[in-house]
Symmetry: none
Subunit: 406 residues, 2 copies
């Protein structure tokens, strides 16, 4: 649904909405014919399924495997095609860095380059946080401006950082400099559009200048003597989640990227360092009284799927299920449990498979689903919806949408 | 999904995809409460259903009965509203005629006209191929150009042919000259748009000139002494199926129109004259090693539906089912069995009913369907999708789409 139109229907009330995103939760049947959600002993999730309306959502579209960015953007109600966010902006948004509209951000990976210019190690020997911060500080000291454009830096994690160009109209449609394979040379940054804009030509020139300057600054480093740039994008604020839906919104997530996408949407992000799932639940409990909407992100279901660890995924589901009563005790008016995409253990990767979704609320039209899982949800009342349908459904069930038309 | 965007996600690999289109396969329950698919003994189709994900597709949209052109265009991934192809182009594309972009094509039906100008027989006594070719040759000899526009001819079948105007910008939005009923006069061709373009006015004038000229040339014919024109359209190439999806694509179909639509999409079309279903299967087997995608068209399910022949439709399904193991023996990575539209025997015509579809592949999320049929598919995992979702799903299941976004 058109966001402007939706926003015009929004009314404010006292209801509270909890959206739980179990990352990569959707899966395929394992050897015994059941998916991790079906194998898991998860009585509380089953209770949610029983008291709610169940079905599937397509994160982006049938057949399309989404990255984490578009998958969350869709859950938050934004068209993932229209609001496609590059890795440079997404990763930086997960840090404390404060963007200004128009900033051009790129992910920066420290690398080791040989004397002949070939990339020896794309991760600079996987240097840690302290070492990453130290070499980044060297860059920040020496490179403050290039051709009249301000250069800003942000450490992300270990050998990963971000470079941000500020102060000129720039176009982020640029190729990566990362050759993706060791033994190859760094790729000159060039515009990707068939007819490159002047802003993209300038941005490419700045990026190449930057890479050369960084190489000079870091020349005496043993490991991190070079940088590679990828995921160029300019920052444009998303329509604010808070303005659109007229509520206070809070994000609880343990990983930077998910904090980033929530922050881009204008949510309040709880910063609490490394957190266990129980820590996250506690953050929700603490935030609950002073917010209307909570996005809770559970990462490890996806990590287990990526590792092909079926039993591990089952265990994470069971761990979450054991904690679920604490969330239920908060008595959310609307509780939605879903995932951002599927990460089948058999595939060890994100996939295109539709994602189970359940919405429990006083006026949910319950269906015949008694168990939280892919097979029972086939006969769920939601059928197969688009991820962007979820926010209107949550608002509707929360009594936060007025009637459309007379 | 936007085709340009989809195309950007496509990657090439070694997988092979087989799309079987059983024309008009969807149906309604007969006297005993089962549809032809459900009555048919079709153990191999049932096996496909069991190993795949099942559901329905809407060829064009809920309630909309599609022609064969839009129905196939949608299956091939093109928006059937945007890429609406007139009968003149569609029928001509099914012949060896080689179009140039901008050609204006119309179906030409030979007819018998009375001295008072009324149409006595809209099919000129159903003259056969030889007679149709003979009178068409008379036209081709005498009419080579009209008002500076080149006129080309192509025989289609029996009393059916095509006329193609080449060499000027023309607009095909014109009414048919065929009055659709015997005893009436030929209708002057006029533009159909409210505000006709100069190109449409010129095209209408050419068409009327052509009809008059043809009447003069054929004046001494006993049966085919007149022509009627219908389905005007200009030829514009579709985005190439091969370029879009980066694979070799082959079409096996016994009827010209289906070859035509496949050829318009840029597929390699096997030309083998009249073929039985077994011949078609053999064509697939021969083509298999040197192609990545095969579109196999099964015509007779539709013909039986059009004839209201329930038992005949059951028999065609059983005939196909008996041959299906030969296709399964090719071990396609993705096997999709569906139809282009429904042709219920009780209606003796195309209909708007959603069409059963099943996709079998290694990573298909199987559902509870154990039988190939309209009723079991109600609980299928695909739910109700749009025909244009099928190509992204086939590509996804074939591992031929990269992740969307970071």
């Amino acid at each position: 649904m058109d966001l402007d139109l939706l926003s015009q229907l929004v009314v404010s009330n006292q209801s509270k909405v909890l959206l739980v995103v179990m990352d990569g939760i959707g899966d395929l049947a394992g050897p015994d014919g059941q998916t991790p959600l079906e194998v898991a002993r998860s009585p509380h999730l089953d209770q949610v399924a029983e008291s709610g309306i169940c079905g599937f959502h397509d994160p982006v579209g049938p057949g399309i495997t989404p990255g984490s960015g578009p998958a969350h953007i869709g859950l938050f109600g934004y068209d993932p095609y229209r609001y496609l966010i590059g890795r440079g902006v997404l990763d930086t948004a997960g840090t404390p860095f404060v963007f200004a509209p128009g900033d051009l951000a790129a992910r920066l990976n420290f690398a080791t380059r040989a004397a002949d210019g070939s990339i020896l190690d794309r991760r600079a020997g996987r240097i840690g946080d302290a070492e990453g911060q130290r070499v980044l500080a060297r860059l920040a000291k020496e490179i403050k401006e290039l051709s009249g454009v301000q250069v800003l830096f942000q450490h992300v994690k270990e050998y990963r950082a971000a470079a941000i160009f500020r102060g000129r109209d720039l176009d982020g449609r640029l190729c990566d400099s990362d050759p993706q394979q060791e033994g190859l040379q760094s790729i000159p940054v060039t515009p990707t559009a068939k007819e490159a804009s002047a802003e993209a030509v300038l941005a490419a020139q700045l990026a190449n200048e930057f890479i050369a300057a960084a190489a000079r600054v870091l020349a005496d480093e043993e490991k991190a003597n070079f940088v590679m740039m990828r995921g160029f994008d300019t920052y444009q604020p998303l329509p604010s989640f808070t303005d659109l839906y007229q509520w206070r919104a809070t994000a609880v997530a343990a990983y930077p990227m998910y904090k980033g996408v929530a922050r881009l949407a204008g949510m309040e992000v709880i910063e609490a360092g490394q957190q266990s799932l129980a820590d996250e639940i506690q953050q929700v409990e603490k935030a609950w009284a002073e917010t209307d909407f909570v996005f809770l992100h559970v990462k490890k279901t996806d990590s287990m799927g990526e590792d092909g660890n079926f039993a591990g995924k089952v265990a994470v589901i069971e761990e979450f299920d054991a904690l679920l009563p604490r969330l239920q005790a908060l008595r959310p008016d609307v509780l939605c449990v879903t995932g951002d995409h599927s990460t089948p253990c058999a595939m060890k990767s994100h996939s295109w498979h539709p994602v189970p979704v359940c919405i429990a609320a006083a006026y949910a039209r319950t269906d015949t689903c008694r168990q939280f899982g892919e097979t029972p949800f086939l006969s769920g009342g939601l059928g197969r919806i688009h991820s962007t349908d979820i926010m209107p459904l949550l608002l509707g069930h929360a009594g936060r949408l007025r009637k459309f038309g007379a």
